[in-house]
Symmetry: C2
Subunit: 297 residues, 2 copies
């Protein structure tokens, strides 16, 4: 178990926690309460140089602007066409334009049609630096952790700021996580004559920061016993769990090294004694060596 992990303090802490909550004894937790929640971008797969879904949406916007030149000088279409890294990296200051663009991208789409578009993206697009399909940049050590938790009667959920319906297309083949265990930012839908159509509004806001415990309660009804994240947007979720694991991106050679947008998470981890995973030191391998099939139906 956890064969892609080096035997160090992070691996030991995880194994010790699992023993405590599953072995007979005072620390045993009944199976119903064995819930684990994992952030996705940067926790289960690579989010650099940009999260896969961001690439997906940029391509959609660029295609829309190509078909409708009136959008060419309007944000976020302009930034998408030009791949304006400076504008895009500064996304916190462009939230209204980005949400507007997200709404315009898929409003009126049925789930079935959206799924086709996502599948085509995974079939056609590769990671810009690593040159492999996006599903291949999931973290092999984390997949092993998901399996280990499931083997200890945990129900493992994704709880990500990313799009719920985007992740649901790949959660079963890539992570072995059922669609109903994917929590994320999600659009409203309306029902007409047996079909569902996307609305421009979000259901319950963005699943990030303080939104994560709220989304988790809505979907699960109990807090996580085990949670894993990598960024400031995971702090509230990690605080709500009994065991908190924080992935630290410190491996410039095999992945990326960055602390940006994780400063508060790293400080809280040090203060509250969370288990910090050094990608450089704790992981023997980072990416799967065998093919991961996400685009297949």
């Amino acid at each position: 178990m956890l064969q892609s992990w080096n035997d160090g303090p992070a691996r030991q802490a995880v194994l010790e926690f699992l023993r405590t909550v599953t072995d007979d004894g005072p620390g045993r937790v009944v199976a119903a309460d064995r819930v684990a929640t994992f952030d996705n971008d940067g926790t289960l797969w690579c989010e650099q140089p940009l999260p896969p879904q961001f690439d997906f949406v940029l391509r959609r916007w660029a295609a829309t602007a190509a078909a409708d030149p009136s959008k060419r000088y309007v944000e976020p279409y302009r930034a998408a066409i030009e791949r304006d890294g400076e504008w895009l990296r500064d996304y916190e200051h462009h939230v209204p334009e980005l949400l507007q663009g997200m709404a315009e991208a898929f409003t009126g789409t049925t789930p079935e049609r959206f799924e086709e578009i996502v599948r085509r993206f995974f079939a056609e697009v590769s990671h810009p630096d690593l040159g492999v399909p996006y599903e291949q940049v999931c973290y092999q050590p984390m997949r092993e952790l998901l399996d280990l938790l499931a083997g200890h009667e945990f129900r493992v959920f994704i709880a990500s700021g990313g799009g719920r319906d985007f992740m649901r297309v790949i959660s079963e083949p890539v992570y072995g996580i059922l669609r109903e265990r994917v929590i994320g930012t999600a659009p409203d839908y309306e029902y007409r004559d047996g079909l569902l159509y996307r609305l421009p509004t979000l259901l319950g806001g963005v699943d990030d920061g303080p939104g994560k415990p709220v989304h988790i309660f809505h979907q699960i009804g109990r807090p996580p016993l085990f949670a894993a994240g990598n960024a400031d947007g995971d702090v509230e979720m990690l605080r709500s769990a009994r065991f908190a694991l924080l992935v630290h991106h410190d491996d410039a050679k095999r992945e990326y090294a960055y602390d940006a947008k994780a400063e508060r998470a790293l400080a809280t981890a040090a203060r509250d004694g969370w288990t910090v995973v050094s990608m450089r030191d704790d992981w023997a391998t980072v990416f799967p060596t065998a093919p991961v099939e996400a685009a297949a139906t």
Copy 2:
């Protein structure tokens, strides 16, 4: 299996469907797609003379008005104090007052506090006609059906117009259905300092009629293979399933006989060939004979 069912066409249709989708052969359905959704009030437990949660809320309103006499002549508090059956049965014409009353009843409450209040209700209150605790008026044949589906690798969900967080308190002990598999009408929450607080607004509207397929998609991400209901508010959900089962309340002796608010469902069942369960003819027993423990923690 299904030992509380009489051996008739309804029982046979259910068993035949389960054989088809689980036996090796062309009709076999992969386990991931084996999703079942059940309405609650009138489908899994008795909803007459009023659904348990309605009794719960009426008591809350009456207690509020007792503490605050200014509410005494304001609806829905007046109707709650006087148990004004005429006003309450006509609820479709009082939706604004009822939603306002619902919002006022628990806004600002944490999930933990709400759960305590629900547990006390189940511990203290009995069914007005049958004289047993409310958890004892669940339908024994349906509990056997839930178990049978689970035994065939179905993931069984409740999808009810009733309150999600009310049902989640009893879903595990009464039905063996995990909280995360309870879909219902739900309030928004906000996060402050590690705790969640109820807001007066609903998340995604009422889970009834066309709202059911929308809520089901949000929670599960795939349509039900098997669905069960009893009323007009279940029609859209039943239409979305491959196997639809409609409970018909035709047993005045052991339960209640009524077609009100089920006229459209019964007509659609006849037209589309849904399996109709006659409580009188298809069920050998209606209620559990052994104690059901819902109030215990």
